[in-house]
Structures are given as C-alpha cells and as structure tokens.
C-alpha cells in the first residue's frame, strides 16, 4: 500500500502531508504516559508487518496492521505510523520521504476509522473476534480506497483504480482480518484491560 515517490501530484502530496501533521499533533496530545509503551510496541509491529509477505497468485502483498493499530491506539496511531513508515522509507526504501505524508494519511485515517468502528462493535456485541476482524479487514480496505483517492487526485480515474486496488487486495483483507481477530481475542481474555486508553 506504499505509494512510490514521483507518482503523485503536488496537491495530493500537500493534502496528505497536512492530514498527517494534523493527525500526528492530535495523536501526540492524546498520548498519555501509560499509552507510550503501547504506542511503541504498535509502531514496531507496523514497522515489521510490511516484511511479512503473503504470496498469492501473481502478486505478493504484505500485512499492514493499521486497523489493529487504530483499535489499540486511537489517534495515537498517527505518530506510531509516522515513525514506522519513516523508518521503512529510510531503511527499506518502501515508499519515500516526499510521499510519507500521503502514506501516513491513507493508512492512518483508514486505521483510525476501522479501529473506532471495531471498538463500537466490541461495546455493542462484546465479541473481540468479530471486532478484530473488522479492524483488520476494514483497515486494509479503507487504505485501498484512500490510496485510490490519492491517485485520483493525481490524474488517474478513480473507479478503475479503486476497483483494481481493492480486487488485488481481497486476499490480504481477509488474511489481515483473521490475524487481527486472533490478536484481539487472545488478550481480551488474558488481559481484559488492554483496550482501555
């Protein structure tokens, strides 16, 4: 889901950077002393997740875990994501420094929304498995749609791009949903307080 350097137009880059800076500022403000270690762990997980590739058919995709991050951190997902993506850009040449803002926005906004939705569902039906699945699957699906919007803002047609990105990411949407479902249901049983901010 990393958009490469040199693909996007200037307005798209500026919009992405603005959203990323705003999100990071709100996230840092909301970050309590107790949540800092949690943010660090989520940041490490986001950083490493991109290295776990799932080979299916012709394409090879990797985990993102942005929905899980949004569920665990809320707004603090933005600073965690910023750090993880910055290190990925510098160390692995994934994405790039100029498009960092856009990549943080596409994965951050979708992760935050998917996380909020899954928390809401968890409160209503108290099934961490389902809530986790929605966080994982929703995070990837949302990131795919937002990536299509970013490309659309740079001159590509929206619908074909969105369809293509979504279609190729269907397997990873399902896989990430299942992984997050497991990740959520285990700690909910063993450490019930872990979702509290």
């Amino acid at each position: 889901m990393h958009i490469s350097e040199g693909v996007l137009s200037l307005p798209a880059l500026v919009t992405g950077a603005t959203i990323a800076i705003t999100g990071t500022a709100v996230g840092l403000r909301s970050l309590s002393m107790e949540a800092i270690p949690k943010a660090g762990i989520v940041s490490s997980a986001l950083f490493v997740a991109s290295l776990i590739h799932v080979n299916l058919g012709v394409s090879s995709m990797h985990l993102i875990l942005n929905g899980l991050g949004g569920m665990l951190l809320g707004w603090a997902l933005f600073p965690a994501l910023l750090v993880a993506l910055l290190l990925q850009a510098v160390l692995f040449q994934f994405g790039g420094l100029v498009v960092l803002g856009v990549n943080v926005s596409t994965m951050g906004v979708s992760g935050l929304l998917a996380g909020m939705l899954s928390r809401y569902i968890l409160r209503r039906i108290s099934s961490p498995g389902i809530a986790g699945f929605i966080a994982g699957a929703g995070g990837v699906a949302g990131a795919a749609i937002l990536t299509a919007i970013a490309l659309w803002g740079s001159g590509e047609f929206f619908l074909p791009t969105a369809e293509l990105i979504l279609a190729t990411h269907v397997p990873i949407i399902i896989i990430e949903g299942i992984i997050c479902s497991f990740v959520c249901s285990f700690p909910c049983r063993t450490m019930p307080g872990f979702l509290e901010e």
């Binding site: 002393m33 949690k38 660090g40 940041s43 490493v48 750090v83 290190l87 160390l91 307080g193 509290e196």
Partner: protein, 201 residues
C-alpha cells in the same frame, strides 16, 4: 489505564517472538568460512578464506553436482587457492570446503555450456593450406562476432552471479530490521523520559 505488567508481558512476548524468528532465520556462523569460485577456460578456480581474511590452508575441497554427488576432490593450497578441471555438462555445481573443527563453507556456481571448439575450428594438421585461406577470408565482422561470442560465454556466469547478488542486496536485512526496532524502542524511551520530566516539574 493499562497496567504496567500487561505492557511488560506484551513487550516480552513480542521480543521473544522476534528472537525466535531471527534465530531460526540462518545458521549461526561463529567463525565464518568463505568460498569464492569461478570458472575460467577449462578450469574451476577458487579461493577459500576465513572471515578475517586468513586463507584456509590444506583443507579438502569437494566439487558436487546438483544432486550432491561428488564429482571431484582436491585440497586447498597454502594461500587457500584451489582448482578443478571443468566438469562436462554439469551445472550448477557446488564447491564445498571442509575447514575442519566444524568449519564448513560452500558456494554454488553456474557453468556456461562448454563450447564445442572442435566443430568451429577446422582441422589444423591435415590441411594447413586450407586453414590459411580460411583465416584470411574471415572478415572483420566475422572476427568481431567470434570474439563477442567468446566473451559472452565467459562473462555470462558472472552476470548471473551479479544479478543474484543484487537481488540479495535489495532485500531488507536483519541489520536493518533490528536497527529499526531499536530506533522505535529508543524513541519510546525518549518520549517516556520527556513526559516524566514534564510531570515531575
């Protein structure tokens, strides 16, 4: 509020997971033995040395085919070099050096198909006159073509090797991964420290 021991147990769990992942990723090389081999004309030549650059002296070197069958055996010299006759129609081959005391290193090598020299070059002994006229009749373009073919044959394996190396280098290594995680741990610590200073006045 998230309890401290929960944070701790979660981070311990993740670190243990990562350690298991990386330890199982590759065999531990306490004292690495390097092998470097290449094919040249009708020989396989090579050199073997420890990771500090010291040659692996007088050690058995074996040449294996694809299925692990031994094709040839020799010993490395005082300077760690060795050579084999080029095996016919076997590729890829593996050169394995047993440096004793548990040191073992190997390298696999692509060998270009051996040129059928005899078919291209006319019989020199039977009619020397023919060869002379033949040589003279070779145009500049012909010679260039032959040289190009020969050079390609020699450099092809090297090119393969280079491509493989480049592919290997483009993958993120363990150093980068662990380095990145280290940065994040450091940043977390920094954030905690800054916040605690503010809280304590």
């Amino acid at each position: 509020m998230m309890l401290k021991h929960q944070v701790l147990s979660l981070s311990v769990f993740i670190h243990m997971l990562l350690m298991v992942l990386f330890i199982s990723a590759g065999p531990a090389d306490a004292h690495k033995l390097n092998v470097f081999a290449y094919s040249e004309a009708d020989m396989i030549k090579g050199e073997t040395y420890f990771n500090d650059g010291a040659p692996v002296m007088n050690s058995p070197v074996t040449l294996l085919d694809q299925n692990g069958k031994v094709i040839a055996e020799t010993r490395s010299g005082e300077d760690g070099t060795f050579s084999f006759d080029l095996p016919k129609n076997v590729s890829p081959v593996t050169v394995r050096v047993n440096g004793s005391m548990g040191h073992m290193g190997s390298m696999s090598l692509e060998i270009a198909p051996s040129p059928d020299v005899r078919e291209e070059v006319p019989d020199t002994e039977s009619n020397g006159k023919d060869i002379e006229t033949e040589t003279l009749s070779l145009s500049r373009a012909d010679i260039e073509k032959i040289i190009n073919q020969a050079v390609t044959r020699q450099t092809d394996p090297l090119l393969h090797e280079l491509t493989a190396l480049r592919k290997e280098l483009s993958k993120p290594g363990v150093t980068e991964i662990l380095g990145g995680i280290g940065y994040i741990a450091g940043l977390t610590g920094f954030a905690l420290w800054a916040r605690s200073r503010r809280n304590n006045g």
